[in-house]
Amino acid sequence: MRKLFSGVTATPAARLGLVRAVIGGYTMFYLLRRRDLFRKLARTDPELFAPVGPCRVLAKPIPAPVADALTDATLASTALFTLGGGHRLTGKLHSALLTWTLSYRNSWSMVFHSDNTLVFHTLVLGAARAADAASLDALATRSRPAPHPRYGWPLDLMNAASAVTYLLAGVAKVVGPSGWGWARGDSMRRQVAVDAVRKEAFGSHAAPAAYLLYRFRHLFTAFAVGSLVLELGAPLGLVNRRVGRLWAVATFGLHWGIRVIMGIRFRYQMSGVSFISWFEPERLLTLFRRR
């Protein structure tokens, strides 16, 4: 056990605390903006209910008022999680509620895969001592814990969970019918085209870049190779901190590229919050203090 943890760097409690606060803040923003949408979804035709994740225990949708109450409870737990109040209890409660609420939202015939990492990250933060600093708990106890590996392993695990999700996306591409031929870019080009047609057919508008770039086949070869390198190479970022940060920045760019070409918003990733665990956000606080 000691050997296993010898690779974990002693980390300031403030780093983990700030990561918790930022991810909690993002979750709050995300859920608040979708509260009405979740209420509407809870009243969708029950025939369209296709439970995923923990919601698979349900044979049919739960009554709409119960679903509403759970969404509101998730919002309340998100606030406590963000502020770091009673984290030993509220952290785990928030993890459970968020997993449930997002699973229920995804149980209506469409899974939003971009929320996967948010759930993984929250599960880790909820289980870790993520409120020993930058929190109401820390204010109440007036504790100033020294850097410790206990604040480092959650960040390493969050990074590993991110790497695994990208690895799985990369594997899905090369084990599909195109095999390694996926790198030629034809599948990606078609995917961009299908997405554009679907958007138009549902009264929305495809991204102008989809039309502009579609004729340039070689460009899609470059995009496909680039995305495969980032996805299949994601675990390499865990080996070296600098490589990890480089990977995080490149992957952040990948999501913005998808936004421009396909008009798809991976909000957690595009906001940069998804990658915060690769960095040292507490340094920003130090900079502000110096000023």
């Binding site: 994740g53 939003f112 599960l123 695994v164 599909g176 995917q191 929305s204």
Partner: protein, 170 residues
């Protein structure tokens, strides 16, 4: 490292969480080895099926069309079909059609259109299956495909039925 003090069982709990989480995240890989009809996606544990789907030059999309009194047609906005965003609505519509319930669904949509004063020029709603040549659509910047009407319903507004109701009351 040995200088750091840990709570009793703290490292064990951390290791258990790490093994469980990474094991669970990797677990969906097994879906790739299952027969096509038995693969099942999940949340938050996914095998990202959208990336392994075969993409061809021709794509089939099921959607809704608004038909005007003069016979002109346009794509119906997804907000009129359901809640949850474009892709969620698209999946739900596909599911409705696959379940053979397009007829009932188009009646519901037609009623929604009838209730919206801003859509007063829409006379009929159709659920159609369109086959699109992606090269033609993207190169020509036009979304036109070969359409098959799966179900349709006339948009009946209160103003249309009111005279009849008044007549029957007399």
């Amino acid at each position: 490292m040995s200088g750091y003090s840990w709570e009793r069982g703290e490292r064990g709990r951390a290791l258990t969480l790490a093994v469980a989480m990474l094991g669970a995240a990797l677990y969906p890989l097994r879906q790739h080895f299952r027969p096509a009809g038995q693969k099942r996606d999940g949340f938050p544990l996914s095998y990202y099926p959208m990336f392994s789907a075969r993409r061809r030059q021709f794509a089939i999309v099921v959607y809704a069309v608004a038909v005007h009194a003069d016979g002109s047609r346009h794509f119906l906005d997804y907000h009129l079909l359901g809640g949850g965003g474009l892709n969620q609505v698209r999946r739900q519509l596909r599911r409705v059609v696959d379940a053979g319930r397009a007829g009932g669904f188009v009646e519901v949509v037609a009623a929604r259109v009838a209730a919206d004063e801003e859509l007063a020029d829409i006379a009929r709603v159709e659920i159609v299956r369109g086959e699109f040549d992606l090269d033609v659509c993207l190169m020509g910047h036009r979304t036109e495909g070969e359409e098959t009407v799966l179900a349709s319903a006339d948009v009946v507004r209160e103003a249309d039925v009111a005279p009849e109701l008044e007549g029957s009351a007399r």
